[in-house]
């Protein structure tokens, strides 16, 4: 009976002791001194790292190049749209002229160069500009 009680007491105290030991924390001074010794500053490690500055420079160049390419691309698109609009206006002008004529005055050979070619050309250009 007494032996059992002692065993229980030992088990309980050991459990408690190990629980307390697990809660033990290493003082923060250890980490601070360690980083100082090996030259790792806690706060500014990103700025001081060897790859950060080249990576930053590369990012700037990449963003700048992308901006130039994008500007060039949108300028080309605007030029194409303007040309297509101009062609469309010419085509509309001829359409109006032809619609004013009677059917007898119009023949297939006359319409082709005057209307079909400018209209198809301008529509093709507009669709190219949309892409």
């Amino acid at each position: 009976m007494r032996k059992q009680r002692v065993e229980n007491q030992v088990t309980e105290e050991l459990t408690h002791y190990f629980e307390q030991a697990r809660k033990l924390k290493c003082p923060p001074s250890m980490k601070q001194n360690l980083y100082q010794k090996i030259g790792l500053n806690q706060g500014s490690n990103w700025l001081n790292s060897s790859w950060f500055k080249p990576a930053l420079a590369f990012s700037f160049v990449a963003v700048f190049s992308l901006g130039l390419v994008w500007q060039n691309h949108s300028q080309t698109q605007q030029d194409q749209l303007a040309t297509a609009e101009k062609d469309m206006q010419i085509a509309m002008h001829y359409m109006q002229k032809i619609s004013a004529k009677t059917l007898q005055d119009v023949n297939t050979h006359g319409i082709k160069p005057a209307i079909i070619v400018p209209v198809s050309k301008s529509i093709a250009q507009m669709s190219m500009a949309q892409i």
């Binding site: 030992v10 088990t11 002791y17 290493c26 001074s29 250890m30 980490k31």
Partner: protein, 163 residues
């Protein structure tokens, strides 16, 4: 490297500190041991060495054993100096344990090696049998047997104290 290193420090500092403190019974020495272990890890990784968790515990334990050995030499020197004098420090107080109070702390410190390290690494650090075996260069079955003996010895020692 530095991010990985910081992660290792954050993950293992408290466990290593608990081990060192249990073995040495002194906070300042435990802190120094943990710091030296992490400096060794930095040098080890810079040299391209392979890292495992067991490696950290092995290095910490070896450093603690060195300190205990040095303390024993210092104690023997003190004894030699104190021959003929009435005052002689107790071996338990001087060699093994200067801060850990209580019967359990003393009983753990009086366990032989590798029982003491195994018990602390298992019960306090919660390491697996495999990590324990790797850290102490033992086989898995040896680890289990030694751990069983360590628990038994500790309980017997405490039961004698409390009886």
């Amino acid at each position: 490297m530095s991010i990985w290193y910081r992660l290792q420090v954050n993950q293992n500092q408290h466990g290593l500190y608990a081990l060192a403190y249990q073995m040495l019974g002194n906070q300042l020495e435990a802190e120094d041991v943990v710091q030296d272990t992490f400096i060794k890890l930095w040098q080890h990784k810079e040299g391209g060495g392979k890292f495992e968790k067991a490696w950290l515990y092995k290095v910490t334990r070896n450093q603690c054993l060195d300190i205990i050995r040095r303390r024993k030499h210092a104690y023997e020197y003190q004894i030699a100096q104190a021959v003929g004098s009435d005052v002689s420090p107790s071996a338990t107080d001087v060699v093994l344990n200067d801060e850990l109070s209580g019967e359990i702390g003393k009983a753990i410190n009086q366990l032989d090696e590798p029982y003491q390290s195994l018990l602390v690494m298992r019960e306090v650090n919660g390491l697996s049998y495999q990590v324990l075996a790797d850290a102490l260069d033992l086989s898995l079955s040896q680890t289990k047997v030694y751990l069983h003996r360590a628990r038994k010895q500790l309980k017997e020692s405490l039961e004698k104290t409390y009886a």
